[in-house]
């Protein structure tokens, strides 16, 4: 295993271990996602709009909001006790450090999504059926891209006074392409449409991941190094 991959995994493992010891952030994010789903159910007029019509949007807005909360956490924990300075002093290439943070965030957001999806099926009475592997694939494709951008932005946002507000303001415009792609692909999957109908959207999601993961990895050193 190349050294930088090993270092990235070490950083990710550190974050995941810290999270598993307290579990407060993870639990709050999961509860938050469940609450968003519940609120959505009551924010809809059941006589005018069936739950299945609204399902893809509900799922993705919930994912987006929960991810935003989760991402805020990534660097606020590093701010306390100057932990980030310690991390930066360690002989780790910045690219590996970013990759580690990204992996930890993906694990975190992925866990929240994995809990939200069954709740979504339960609350909205959606029949996933054969669409499940497709939905998981679309979720992974869409999540990787915006979590990469969110990771670098959360490193910036913690340096400001209103970090919790700054991150969504910066990140939401960047969430638009993955969200549109994911919602379109999800609604086609739920309707049982053939793969060819969503190939364009999947390509867009993959291209977004490729461009932004690369760019954020390269730009990370400009954010953390004086």
């Amino acid at each position: 295993m190349p050294e930088s991959v090993r270092l990235a995994l070490v950083v990710a493992a550190k974050d995941i271990r810290a999270e598993l010891r307290s579990r407060t952030a993870l639990l709050s994010a999961v509860v938050f996602a469940a609450l968003v789903l519940v609120v959505f159910n009551f924010a809809r007029d059941p006589t005018a709009l069936s739950a299945t019509d609204l399902a893809p949007s509900v799922l993705w807005v919930t994912f987006a909001l929960a991810a935003m909360l989760a991402l805020n956490r990534a660097f606020t924990v590093e701010r306390e006790n100057g932990a980030l300075d310690g991390l930066l002093l360690a002989p780790i290439p910045r690219e590996a450090l970013f990759a580690g943070k990204l992996l930890a965030n993906l694990a975190f957001v992925g866990t929240v999504e994995a809990v939200t999806l069954p709740l979504f099926v339960l609350f909205f009475n959606v029949d996933l059926g054969a669409a499940l592997p497709g939905i998981v694939a679309v979720t992974v494709l869409a999540t990787v891209g915006f979590v990469a951008v969110g990771t670098i932005f959360s490193a910036m946002a913690v340096r400001t006074r209103f970090a919790e507000l700054m991150l969504p303001v910066l990140l939401l415009p960047f969430m638009v392409p993955p969200l549109i792609g994911a919602v379109q692909a999800t609604s086609r999957l739920l309707a049982g449409r053939p793969l060819s109908e969503m190939l364009g959207w999947l390509r867009l999601l993959a291209l977004y991941d490729l461009v932004f993961v690369t760019l954020c990895t390269l730009a990370f050193s400009a954010v953390v190094d004086e």
């Binding site: 951008v149 670098i152 932005f153 910036m156 340096r159 400001t160 006074r161 209103f162 700054m166 303001v169 910066l170 939401l172 415009p173 960047f174 638009v176 392409p177 549109i180 792609g181 379109q184 364009g200 959207w201 867009l204 291209l207 977004y208 461009v211 932004f212 760019l215 954020c216 730009a219 400009a222 954010v223 004086e226």
Partner: protein, 232 residues
């Protein structure tokens, strides 16, 4: 204080250019109202085209330059580039506000709706939000070097976001008028309209240059003030 004089002279130059552009703008109004023919189907509502299209041009010019200059900043670390990017972003937000208000005023009588989620409208709206966020981030950071690095990262990511937003919203059917000047075949406009549009675009470009120059001089003066305050 020779440095303060430099900032003042830049601001003065910017004010001169802006004043020239505003005179030009008055000429554009005259041309639009007197010289160009009334469009057959849209009537007088079409006149807003001479302001809407050039302000969109200036906004996009401003934002593209922010992206390009941000990339250069991460490479060269020249504070002048950062100052320019900040000025250009601010002026770009102002021009896109003009674009986003003149658009609906035209759309209401012509499309019958103030707003629609058309590809181009959505793209420009998100560009507007993106750069409002960019300015908010700048305002929230104290350290000038940090502010410059962070905003350069947002600027360059923003530049790359544009094709993605465009691609993703383009797949929805577009309602916006198709390009009529910058397209492969010859412009399909009466010569009076085309000439007025070109004049107006030049005027808006000059207005962009003037406002950015002014803003740049002010940013320089602000920085010198901060440094003088730190030294004292």
């Amino acid at each position: 204080m020779t440095a303060g004089a430099a900032a003042r002279s830049i601001v003065r130059r910017g004010m001169f250019l802006t004043a020239a552009a505003l005179l030009g703008l008055a000429a554009v109004y005259l041309l639009a109202l007197q010289y160009t023919p009334v469009e057959a189907r849209q009537g007088l509502a079409q006149k807003i085209f001479y302001l809407h299209v050039p302000s969109a041009w200036s906004a996009l010019l401003a934002f593209s330059l922010v992206g390009i200059v941000s990339g250069l900043y991460l490479w060269l670390h020249d504070p002048r580039l950062d100052r320019f990017a900040a000025s250009s972003a601010e002026v770009g937000v102002a021009f896109s506000a003009v674009m986003l208000t003149t658009g609906p005023i035209w759309a209401k009588p012509i499309w019958g709706t103030w707003w629609t989620w058309d590809a181009r409208l959505t793209l420009t709206l998100f560009l507007f939000f993106l750069f409002v966020g960019y300015l908010a981030l700048r305002a929230a950071l104290q350290d000038p070097a940090e502010r410059a690095r962070f905003s350069a990262v947002v600027g360059i990511l923003g530049l790359l976001l544009v094709p993605f937003i465009h691609l993703s919203v383009y797949l929805f059917r577009t309602l916006h008028p198709q390009p009529i000047v910058l397209k492969p075949s010859a412009p399909s406009l009466p010569p009076e309209m085309l000439r007025t549009l070109l004049v107006s675009t030049l005027v808006f470009t000059l207005l962009y240059v003037g406002l950015v120059t002014m803003r740049y001089g002010l940013a320089l003066a602000e920085e010198e003030r901060e440094e003088a305050g730190d030294a004292a």
